[in-house]
């Protein structure tokens, strides 16, 4: 596995398949990158679990902190490690004791430990290093293009309506006094589909 550059399809498949993500080193401080990523991924429907022994008893966006990976009461698809490179190996060792094993171990932007990656891969776990799942999700969905970022993707298909963004809705003011039944019906169908 080449960890210097990842194919988009590798990253896309991971982000499309995982459902639960334990974030090791999640911070409740709302200007920390881990907080940004936690909130973003939670809003996109991932089951997020904050792991940080310093904050047990508190919760992050309604999700209670746990002290360690072993304290999580359900299978975890992915572990997102928000620690610097020198603290990766112990987390991977802990992850390898879980049953079932996680499918993916993801090391945050700036974090890389090739020996830890090799160990995880030997156990059949997919590894991503030195990337941010928020940035990768934003890039592959082209949402990040709003910030002028090079998504390195092209598409001739109509862009999806942004999540929680513009939606056809019935809560419109009818200004002409005319019938709106047809457009209301269209809007209703649309919202039922989405």
């Amino acid at each position: 596995m080449n960890h210097d550059a990842y194919d988009d399809n590798y990253i896309r498949a991971i982000l499309n398949s995982v459902k639960s993500i334990a974030m090791v080193g999640a911070s409740p401080v709302n200007v920390r990158p881990s907080y940004f990523a936690f909130k973003y991924l939670a809003q996109r429907g991932y089951d997020m679990i904050p792991v940080n022994p310093g904050h047990v008893g508190k919760s992050l966006l309604g999700k209670p902190f746990v002290a360690s990976l072993g304290d999580i009461d359900r299978p975890i698809d992915m572990i997102d490690i928000f620690r610097n490179s020198s603290h990766i190996m112990p987390v991977v060792d802990e992850a390898l004791k879980l049953s079932p094993l996680p499918k993916v171990i993801w090391m945050q932007l700036g974090a890389r430990d090739d020996a830890a990656a090799e160990k995880a891969e030997a156990a059949g776990i997919q590894v991503v290093m030195n990337r941010c799942p928020k940035i990768e999700y934003g890039r592959l969905s082209s949402e990040i293009s709003w910030m002028g970022v090079n998504s390195r993707t092209l598409s001739s298909k109509r862009a999806p309506i942004p999540t929680q963004g513009m939606r056809l809705s019935l809560n419109r003011m009818s200004v002409g006094g005319g019938e709106t039944a047809a457009s209301d019906r269209a809007a209703k169908n649309k919202s039922e589909l989405s």
């Binding site: 194919d7 293009s145 002028g148 090079n150």
Partner: protein
């Protein structure tokens, strides 16, 4: 399955653009709006706090401008870009992220006259100093490095002289000094030269020139290569230190390899204000779709005109790097194998007065202060774009008093040559 990497012409047409989600409009819509509604209070707070991607206000970002930004970032091979109102605005925004009062940049002497003015006079009032170096003498860049140096600035193809800069050699100096190399790639465009491939950390453009290409819209852009580590020492606090404007966010830590582009947007554009009109972004985007075709024609015509002038009895010298005899021809072969651009200078045996006569006798070339138009253009730099320099500085910047600058358009080359012939003999 591994990823396919689209070619340059495909990116020029498609990068950044996608059919509109609501209407299906295939061309990029002009989002001529100042502001964008929030979904709810939390969404608004997330956007203002840089936690979510999205639109707030056109002075910070606009969906039409974002398509332009992604397209140029893709063409240059950068991680992200920020479009602004002009090439000059791009330079101010870049240096605001890098310099504190008392800091220095090293700049090549061969620069667009407007940049020389901006660095010499406008920047002085910010307490930013410039040390000048000679692109033909790489050691002059090394000698100019001081503990206050924060960046090196060059043009890939210099205006007005058309000379080619040895980007890799100067990038090596920048790396050794631990500072970013900024390349103004306006005259080359990424079609001819991609400075990031040669070691540039930041690329700036006047989009007004070949990228827009039709002489109808001003614009500028900053491209982040994503290559520079802003946090390895305390030299670039705008990127490495907690920002009080954003409750202590550290930009490089948060945005990784596109942090410089984000800094330019949320600290530079937001606070200095030189936003690009979405209408101009649309015009420039339309221009970029034909960039590869236009640049081929520009270069083909420029070479034909340069060859004609070089053989003309009234012409003293032609400075076009695409000519085999030119001193920059080796650099042109290395850096710009598809063509040496379409802006160059020549001088007449009868000097300054002959230059002035030539300009007034031309019937097809337009006498004006721009380059990179579909139309062929002519100007006498010494009395216009470079008039604020003294005579010695004019010579060093490639704008000696007897020099005439041409920007060759995409007309039929036979007509351009016929116009020059009649003007030279009139």
């Amino acid at each position: 399955m591994t990823d396919r990497h689209p070619g340059f012409s495909t990116l020029a047409v498609h990068a950044g653009a996608q059919p509109d989600p609501t209407t299906g409009a295939r061309a990029t819509p002009i989002y001529q709006t100042t502001s964008f509604v929030f979904n709810d209070a939390d969404h608004a707070a997330s956007l203002f706090g840089l936690q979510a991607f999205g639109n707030i206000y056109t002075r910070i970002g606009n969906p039409t401008n974002a398509v332009l930004e992604e397209r140029v970032a893709a063409l240059e091979g950068g991680t992200a870009a920020l479009a602004v109102a002009s090439g000059h605005a791009a330079q101010v925004v870049v240096f605001q992220q890098l310099l504190m009062p008392g800091d220095e940049i090293i700049a090549a002497r061969k620069l667009y006259g407007g940049s020389i003015n901006q660095f010499t006079h406008a920047f002085k009032s910010f307490g930013w100093n410039v040390a000048w170096a000679d692109s033909d003498d790489i050691a002059s860049f090394e000698r100019a490095v001081t503990p206050h140096t924060k960046a090196i600035f060059i043009e890939s193809i210099a205006n007005p002289s058309g000379s080619i800069t040895d980007i890799e050699a100067i990038a090596a100096v920048a790396r050794k000094a631990g500072v970013p190399l900024i390349v103004d790639n306006t005259l080359a465009t990424p079609y001819l030269i991609r400075p990031i491939d040669h070691g540039a950390d930041i690329v700036v453009h006047s989009l007004t020139k070949f990228l827009g290409g039709h002489g109808n819209s001003l614009g500028g852009i900053i491209v982040d290569a994503g290559t520079f580590d802003w946090s390895k020492d305390n030299k670039y606090p705008m990127l490495s230190e907690p920002r009080p404007e954003y409750h202590g966010i550290k930009l490089q830590e948060t945005f990784g390899n596109f942090a410089f582009a984000i800094a330019c947007r949320v600290l530079g554009l937001r606070d200095l204000g030189p936003a690009l009109s979405p209408f101009n972004a649309f015009m420039i985007l339309t221009g970029i779709e034909t960039l590869p075709l236009r640049m081929q024609k520009h270069c083909e015509n420029a070479k034909a005109v340069a060859e004609f002038l070089a053989g003309h009895p009234k012409v003293a010298a032609v400075n076009y790097a695409g000519l085999a005899s030119d001193r920059y021809n080796n650099l042109a072969r290395k850096y710009a194998p598809k063509g040496a651009g379409a802006v160059f200078t020549f001088s007449l045996k009868d000097g300054y007065d002959a230059g002035v006569n030539l300009v007034s006798n031309l019937k097809l070339f337009s006498h004006l202060a721009n380059v990179g138009d579909t139309r062929s253009l002519v100007i006498h730099p010494a009395s216009t774009t470079h008039s604020q320099l003294d005579d010695a500085a004019k010579v060093k910047s490639g704008a000696a008093p007897d020099v005439v600058r041409l920007s060759i358009g995409i007309e039929d080359k036979e007509d351009l040559i016929a116009d020059l012939e009649q003007a030279l003999t009139a």
